[in-house]
């Protein structure tokens, strides 16, 4: 029963991806020269954030599961 409920948010996100194609006006333009290379130069920032969130998640899960 619970697993069926979990499908609802998943389906909603999938629907969002297809539905939102028609309404991209709000996104605004990219600056001249901004693209793949710009992001590649910032991958260390993204990597740092991924590491930070991973450590935070493991810490929180450990605290949650620690016996009362």
């Amino acid at each position: 029963m619970q697993i069926q409920f979990l499908l609802i948010p998943g389906l909603t996100v999938v629907t969002q991806i297809f539905w939102a194609k028609a309404v991209s006006a709000a996104s605004g333009p990219l600056a001249e020269g901004f693209g793949r290379e710009a992001w590649l130069e910032k991958l260390h920032v993204v990597g740092g954030v991924v590491l930070l969130v991973a450590v935070l998640t493991v810490f929180l899960v450990f605290m949650i599961l620690k016996s009362k």
Binding site: Q2, F5, L6, I8, P9, G10, T12, V13, Q16, I17, W19, A20, K21, V23, S24, A25, A26, S27, G28, P29, L30, A31, E32, G33, F34, G35, R36, A38, W39, L40, K42, V45, V46, V49, V50, L52, V53, L56, T57, L60, M63, I64, L65
Partner: protein, 456 residues
């Protein structure tokens, strides 16, 4: 279904606050709201004035509910806040899709620069000073930053698509809310660690944190101006009362930092990192994607709350009747009434007819009996989680009160009817079917009758 509705009605009503205070607050809120509407205040101020008087009441009620219903109340309050946050995202998307809204969040301000531009364009009188209010209506800019004309030749305008409070794309608001949600969900998971819905919400929040921590880093810590781009210019003027319009007024060439150049789209939105690195086109815009993220978090949070809500029970009833099952305490919780007494108030007097019994949820009471000289003496003091008034209802030898009860200080009690108490004491086969509770009540009556005899 009827029971669930009753449980909802009880939980989401003001239990701890006098109805007169609630009515007075509603009246103040309504007057402030009407005044803001008549003054022509923007939507976020109307909403703020409407909500403001309720904040102290909700805080007081929230603390009371957490004290009485424990972690489920905390989860309930947290769920309401999460629904509120999701609603802001939903309203923003509706403003964009249905209201011709423009994402310019935070919306342009009617400051001296924008006002001067409006004067130059002949949109506003030079004698009207700038207000520094945010605008609510935006005339949409097209390529080059000039206003778009619709098929009918008129300017295309819509709301500033920043939801009700106008702060949706302030990066720090997103980050603070995201971290509040993440830590809050972790906190309630500590109490409900078997709740799979909350684990799903927690996973969604962890993923969402990646987006906001990355975007916020670029916003605050990467200020180098490296990219050629344009900044949208606005001319602002008053429309009605305190409502202002932002008129698209062209663009100015400018050097942009990483955030302004494209970092604001984050990891997975249209124009974001995923599209740039993979070449894939077709991700939703940031407003839509983040509404989706919040939906993915809000739905399991709501389901997780509803799952725990089925067995919501009062902490003090659990303390008083430790032999009852969780389901039975939940059932009993729906049958009690909250009663309040002031310091030195008499709850009942010795000799009164016994119709109710009480569980203390706050404060203390003194148990008084008349001795042989007719003088009242204190024979016991009772505190939170303890029961009184049960002897006159359950003892076959007595149908009246065997002692008087006086509040030692401010007192809150859960009132149980005689029939419910008899059900509790009926043991196996009864409505609550707990032999342990039956024995507990019999032992308590015997013990207290002995105490009465020995001390009076």
């Amino acid at each position: 279904m009827n029971t669930t509705l009753k449980r909802f009605e009880r939980f989401f009503s003001f239990e701890a606050i006098d109805i007169r205070v609630v009515i007075l607050t509603a009246l103040i809120s309504y007057l402030l709201q009407i005044n803001a509407i008549i003054s022509g205040d923007p939507l976020y101020l109307i909403a703020l004035y409407t909500l403001l008087p309720w904040i102290p009441l909700c805080l007081f009620e929230g603390v009371w509910k957490v004290q009485n219903y424990s972690a489920v109340a905390l989860l309930g309050l947290f769920t309401i806040l999460q629904i509120g946050h999701f609603s802001e995202h939903l309203i923003q998307v509706l403003q964009i899709d249905l209201g011709n809204g423009t994402v310019a969040c935070p919306p342009p301000i009617d400051n001296a620069i924008n006002a001067a531009r409006a004067v130059a364009l002949g949109l506003r009188d030079a004698s009207v000073p700038p207000s520094f209010y945010s605008v609510e209506s935006i005339i949409k800019p097209g390529i080059g930053g000039q206003p778009i004309l619709g098929p009918d030749g008129n300017l295309v305008s819509g709301p500033a698509a920043c939801a009700v409070f106008g702060q949706l794309d302030l990066e720090i608001v997103h980050l603070v809310w995201e971290l509040f949600g993440l830590l809050g969900t972790a906190f309630v998971l500590y109490y409900f660690r078997k709740n799979i819905f909350l684990w799903v919400a927690f996973a969604g929040l962890c993923w969402h944190a990646l987006e906001h921590l990355t975007i916020t880093y670029f916003y605050y810590f990467d200020q180098e101006l490296l990219w050629d781009g344009f900044r949208q210019l606005w001319a602002t003027y008053p429309a009605q009362g305190n409502s202002y319009v932002a008129h698209a007024a062209g663009q100015e060439a400018s050097k942009l930092n990483f955030y302004e150049a494209g970092g604001k789209f984050g990891l997975m939105a249209k124009h974001g990192m995923f599209e740039q690195l993979t070449g894939f086109k077709g991700m939703p815009g940031r407003a839509h994607l983040h509404m989706g993220y919040n939906l993915f978090i809000t739905i399991p949070t709501v389901l997780g709350f509803l799952y725990e809500f089925r067995t919501i029970s009062n902490k003090y009833l659990q303390l008083a009747f430790s032999g009852l099952s969780k389901a039975d305490v939940a059932k009993l919780t729906q049958e009690v009434n909250l009663r309040r007494f002031g310091k030195d108030d008499i709850v009942f007097r010795q000799g009164d007819v016994a119709e109710k019994c009480y569980i203390i949820s706050r404060g203390k009471v003194n148990v008084l009996v008349e001795n042989q000289e007719g003088k009242e003496i204190v024979i016991a003091q009772l505190g939170p989680g303890q029961i009184f008034g049960e002897i006159g209802i359950l003892d076959k030898d007595s149908s009246t009160r065997t002692a008087s009860i006086r509040a030692e200080n401010r007192l809150e009690c859960l009132e149980i009817s005689a029939s419910t108490l008899k059900d509790l004491a009926s043991g196996e086969g009864g409505r609550f079917s707990s032999e342990q509770t039956k024995s507990q009540l019999i032992d308590l009556i015997l013990e207290r009758k002995d105490e009465l005899i020995s001390k009076s």
